[in-house]
Chain length 338, copies 2
């Protein structure tokens, strides 16, 4: 079998690897229906994280179960499943508290950019559909695995309420999913901060009511204009840089929560500044598993169509081009047919 | 009239000053029923904040209105009132959002360690009782002005729920009020982190179910023991140092909120650490005005007795001794009779 392996900065290869097998009795093996490249894959691709040994890439996945370990009780061969990028048992106290991404047995999925993948803790991680979903919904179901669930978490963490004014910092796939989520949660105004025409159009299609192209202080003053000098009721930070985090902090009104899901790289906060600004924050890896059944329901009932952000569709053997196109911001998100 | 003035580190004097007068039509002048020294007064007293000119001290106050400006509509001469340490109009969007401590017209009260004080924005800041309260409730009503309201905000910000396990970092007056507040909100376990016998006793009297004397990693492991290795559902940070903030972060479970009300001095956060810990935070100056009517109701109905933390009662002319006793931790909180 071939799979995607990252060797170093901008060196991603689709090459022969051993086929995954059951290693623990709680594992499942799935045949992927499709795969994709995540914005967070670009951090190691760009050399922002050290790569000590070749890394098997891909943490977003959906597909058909082909084999389960002897300890797997609920997931069955032949089922169509979607799983979170965070592996969880869904029974520990952290899972029960709704934070499956901090599960006592947490692992991060890998090896999903391949035709076949091993999923640990299958019972806790995977959610099965009742029947085989129609082909055209596969991209959206794949999106639920990470970016949709992550955007949803950002909106949930920012406590978006019906009638809220929401600002979304970041126009990548997660930011766009934040827009969709805020809209679904009943936000009245959804402000997408984006400088890219194609992303602005998608943001509007996903429910944005305002586009702000400015950044920094000029961006803050646009948000202030839209909110009558108050600031946003809820802010979703979907990038992970100091600049984007400051943007989020200063666009929020006092008492607002910032849901931050961009993995922070070099971000620092000053305690006294945060205190005087009186902004709240919660972030972290998204507990996608908490939202997965509802999100899959919305997709299967065709209430949402997150998959339309895939603007590059290529065979998985061309995965390197998917990384390159996203790195160069020629593509928002690359769908890989397997 | 005499009033309390801070000249420099550990140089606080009770000396002649001009009597306060109406300066704005929205002002009220009140005759204080009692006054006190706040833990936060110790920051400038200890030299942690620069003192560029003599500072009129005291931001906690309750008493009888003796005069109102021409623009004051609801507050009347002869009424007994309690006000927040944050002056607010209670009508701007931030006030309406429940964050009166970020009011568009916010000022911080000063000059409360005196027999008579001026309160700006009287209509928005002061809450009157229906009748003159009995003398023995004055200390508790005075506590509502800041430390009780601040402890309550910490518990509200940390989202204490009925049945929660709550950890309180800091055993000063605000920490003790955090214990009382968590208990009132229905917390099942309230863990007070305290090394001082007299404060431990008060914490237990205010509703603490557990005392943890250890700090740092040992303190975290005690919390883990009490919570079956999970961490606290909600944490109240009531100190404001890097050490206490780290204590709060590591005592909390993933997904928990930390309500932080200790004014941060030199506190820094690393974005990636916060992200991976998946702890939420909101802090800032407490919007006491939001809680004041309810808190005054609880006191007047004798449901809570916050005033029992005053363990030093002295005439206001001896205010310097009040500061000294609190600085040396001989007293938790000094009540000044006026």
């Amino acid at each position: 079998m071939k799979a995607t392996v990252l060797y170093g900065p901008r060196d991603v290869r689709y090459e022969d690897v051993p086929e995954p097998t059951i290693q623990e009795p709680t594992d499942a093996i799935i045949k992927l229906s499709a795969s994709c490249v995540c914005g967070s894959d670009l951090w190691p691709y760009r050399g922002a994280n050290p790569i000590n040994e070749p890394m098997r890439m891909g943490h977003e996945y959906c597909g058909v179960v082909v084999e389960v370990g002897s300890g797997v009780k609920t997931v069955k061969r032949g089922q169509f499943v979607v799983g979170s990028f965070c592996i969880s048992d869904n029974t520990c106290p952290h899972c029960q508290f709704g934070f499956q991404s901090s599960c006592e047995q947490r692992e991060f999925m890998s090896g999903g950019q391949a035709p076949i993948a091993r999923v640990p803790l299958a019972d806790g991680t995977l959610v099965a559909t009742e029947e085989m979903p129609p082909e055209d919904l596969i991209p959206s179901l794949l999106a639920a695995s990470d970016v949709l669930g992550t955007g949803w978490y950002a909106a949930d963490a920012a406590r978006v309420q019906p009638g809220s004014t929401v600002a979304v910092v970041g126009d990548g796939a997660v930011g766009l999913m934040g827009v969709l989520s805020a809209k679904q949660m009943g936000a009245e105004k959804v402000i997408a901060m984006s400088r890219h025409k194609s992303r602005q159009e998608l943001a509007l299609a996903f429910g944005a009511t305002h586009i702000v192209t400015e950044r920094g202080e000029a961006g803050v003053s646009q948000i202030k204009k839209i909110t009558k000098n108050v600031g946003a009721d809820a802010v979703l930070e979907c990038v992970g840089t100091q600049e984007s985090m400051n943007q989020a902090l200063y666009c929020a009104r006092p008492g607002a929560m910032i849901g931050y899901v961009g993995v922070p790289h070099g971000v620092k906060f000053d305690g006294q500044e945060l205190f005087m600004l009186q902004r709240g924050m919660i972030g972290g890896p998204a507990p996608v598993r908490r939202f997965l059944p509802d999100l899959m329901g919305l997709i299967l009932n065709r209430k949402i169509n997150p998959g339309k952000f895939f603007d590059l569709k290529i065979p998985i053997r061309d995965v390197a081009e998917g990384y390159k196109a996203m790195d160069e911001r020629r593509a928002i998100k690359a769908l890989l047919s397997v």
